[in-house]
Symmetry: C2
Subunit: 430 residues, 2 copies
């Protein structure tokens, strides 16, 4: 048996640097916990000369992927490049050469999971991706192993730190979306092009991965209904607060007899829900299983060391499997093909904010339309009546989305309705 | 390869019934996730005729342990009897016969872990015990695998549901310990003899197990400082609230350069700490690692199905290892021998409530004693001054426990001090 397992690292950005540092700083603990030493033999980077603030051994860097994929001594390839290509080609090449792969790449796993798992299975390698969702929070292994005895009914959570930071600020300080985005960009929490975060696309990739594991059914990314937070106003946050809710961007996956719901959108959740207290850039994932009941997993969803913590745990698992000669012990678990329901068939409660004429009979006409479409109202509050216009804030009972959309189409036609100002789903209560 | 892995179940009480039900209800999911079917072949019970509300196959029950330990077809033994004996003998016998063991027995694991792990290692079997701590919350596997790349600095949490239910009631309703205990007993949350829960002994076993794993050092139960909640009064809860804290019974384990601290006691934690929101009978464990930062794991710490969820996950892992012929892939991890610090050497802040004479100069004389013992005070509030007596509520800065005890010895001698009414540690803030 080898005394050291050698690793090839693809990428030395934020996460790559974290992986390097943890393997160095916690070396002795890690060696004893795995039963064998772990050593990074080669690191592929684009630029050999960039200063990375690490003291690296002579000759460890390379710009040539083949120095890693062609090296039979390297048993584990760790991909922290991000993006689809060239990461995908490199990972497939590594798997095809019998190397186990650890990746933090949510884009690649969400969009090409099937191909990757097939390659891993064919070559009897581990393909581990704990770091691809919710950074340091061990949610993948929890779903695949710790809750494996359950039928998972729901997984939903705060899986994008940038938008949670922004919504926390908006809630605490009453500021609007544009200002808080600028601040988040200035602090480095949001990128120059913030679309992936504020548009919900980052969260969509992550909930697609979580739902695929929870429901044993591969969820194609394009079937994830995705809505960002750009339309959330201080007004909505205020009304949420008055009604006993807080607004969070959630990734939501539910397993219903008719099929699975997978969606990302801003959501009203009750203030006493465990997710409501998750502020700033923290992530948390709530899981409901038919045996375990309600559980929640909380931690940092991004950052150099938290994400690297997940990567290193996967490296250690891959190493254990290599020592025992059982890579692939837990492989792809998508053995079902449950249908993904179109968003019109999803069930939710809805907060609806309307700007209407401030005159008698308006509420009656609106209530009539909802009634016709079988949308039952839980509460109606009239706000900001000026004599000319008023705001109507409605919360529905649980109803199929299509009914709400149909009702809103009709409501928009009413002469007394100036605007459907916002529609936000309500979750997390019976 | 076998088509079904056969299981022997020891005990058919609450948890045993849950295990039986989950394996039946989620049978197909479990089979697909493991890659092989799981079947309970024999169940050992004390009384064959008791009605358990399950429809059991003819002949599955036995009162004879040898029907399980002597049966070569049975590969996994699941122990849910509780208590030390005869569980310990049965488990050792099972391990010595090469069977993997899954147990929910915190008493046995906390007190006889070393013997058990040695037997598991000698016989190359799995010994899995996720259900022994915090019911359905997957904290053992998380520490052993998912956070294995970290140096764990702290583990602390709410690991006794009964006392958390009682403290939640006392906080919400202002009632006193005795009344809430009666109510908890009436509802079946507390046992007729509540000592194990309210005395902190149940939590002590669990934190001993968690600390052993987190710090890779076997923690003898007798070295866990243990203090229950019987001395917590509505007054303390009120003052905690005023000062921005909430009182929880915590198991606490810290890894310091001088050694490890492992203790159970009622604790002030800040209201905005993630553990503060964990109410009723829920459990939650907070873990701080040097890479991952702060994480928290929340769920039901007891009950038929939540505990059984953890047992079944362990059974599935044991089955995977048997299929691949690698039982024991993650065995005992106590490869260090860090010293456990005596309670006098632990570091904490302290809330101290004194009943004193209501006259000038009292505070000065008390402050002088604390100063002499190098205990620095963060805040002092005088309460309930009646002209005769007053209550002094003090919160210290972080200090070694021995200094506080020494100061209190001297303070008790002061003629102006009637009573040291309570001393409660403060944790969870910098």
């Amino acid at each position: 048996m080898e005394q050291v397992i050698k690793i090839g690292l693809l990428g030395l950005g934020t996460v790559g640097r974290g992986v390097y540092r943890i393997l160095a700083e916690n070396r002795e603990n890690i060696r004893q916990r795995v039963g064998i030493g772990l050593e990074i033999k080669k690191i592929m980077v684009r630029n050999l000369d960039k200063d990375r603030g690490l003291s690296l051994p002579e000759g460890i860097l390379t710009t040539n992927i083949q120095d890693i994929t062609n090296d039979p001594e390297i048993k584990i390839v760790v991909e922290v490049l991000g993006g689809i290509q060239p990461a995908l080609d490199y990972v497939l090449e590594a798997l095809n050469r019998g190397k186990s792969v650890v990746t933090a790449n949510k884009d690649m796993v969400a969009e090409h999971g099937q191909r990757l798992f097939k390659a891993a299975q064919t070559n009897q390698c581990d393909l581990l991706f704990e770091a691809s969702v919710a950074g340091g929070i061990p949610i993948i292994r929890t779903l695949k192993q710790s809750l494996a005895g359950n039928r998972i009914d729901e997984v939903f959570g705060i899986i994008n730190g940038t938008t949670n930071y922004m919504l926390t600020k908006m809630t605490q300080e009453g500021c609007d979306f544009k200002d808080v985005l600028q601040e988040a960009q200035a602090k480095g929490y949001a990128e120059a092009d913030p679309t992936a975060d504020v548009g919900g696309f980052d969260a969509a990739r992550k909930i697609a991965i979580l739902a695929s594991i929870a429901f044993n059914t591969r969820i194609p990314l394009q079937q994830v209904y995705t809505e960002g937070i750009t339309h959330i106003t201080p007004q909505d946050i205020l009304y949420a607060n008055e009604l006993g809710y807080i607004i969070k961007l959630l990734g939501i996956a539910k397993n219903r007899p008719e099929g699975v719901e997978v969606r990302v959108h801003p959501t009203f959740i009750p203030k006493d829900h465990p997710l409501a207290a998750v502020g700033d850039a923290f992530n948390a994932v709530f899981v409901r299983g038919n045996a375990v009941g309600d559980t929640m997993f909380y931690g940092r969803g991004a950052g150099e060391l938290p994400t690297a913590s997940a990567v290193v745990a996967d490296i250690m698992d891959a190493a254990r499997d290599i020592i025992r000669n059982v890579p692939g012990i837990i492989g792809c678990t998508c053995f079902k093909q449950l249908p993904v329901l179109p968003v019109g068939e999803t069930l939710s409660k809805y907060y609806i904010r309307l700007r209407v004429a401030d005159k008698p009979g308006v509420l009656a006409s609106i209530a009539l339309v909802f009634g016709n479409k079988e949308v039952s109202l839980k509460s109606v509050i009239q706000k900001e009546a000026t004599g000319k216009t008023a705001e109507l804030v409605l919360v529905t009972h649980r109803v199929q989305e299509q009914n709400v959309q149909d009702a809103l189409m009709d409501i928009k036609q009413l002469s007394s309705v100036m605007e459907v100002a916002n529609v936000i789903r309500v979750e997390g209560e019976e």
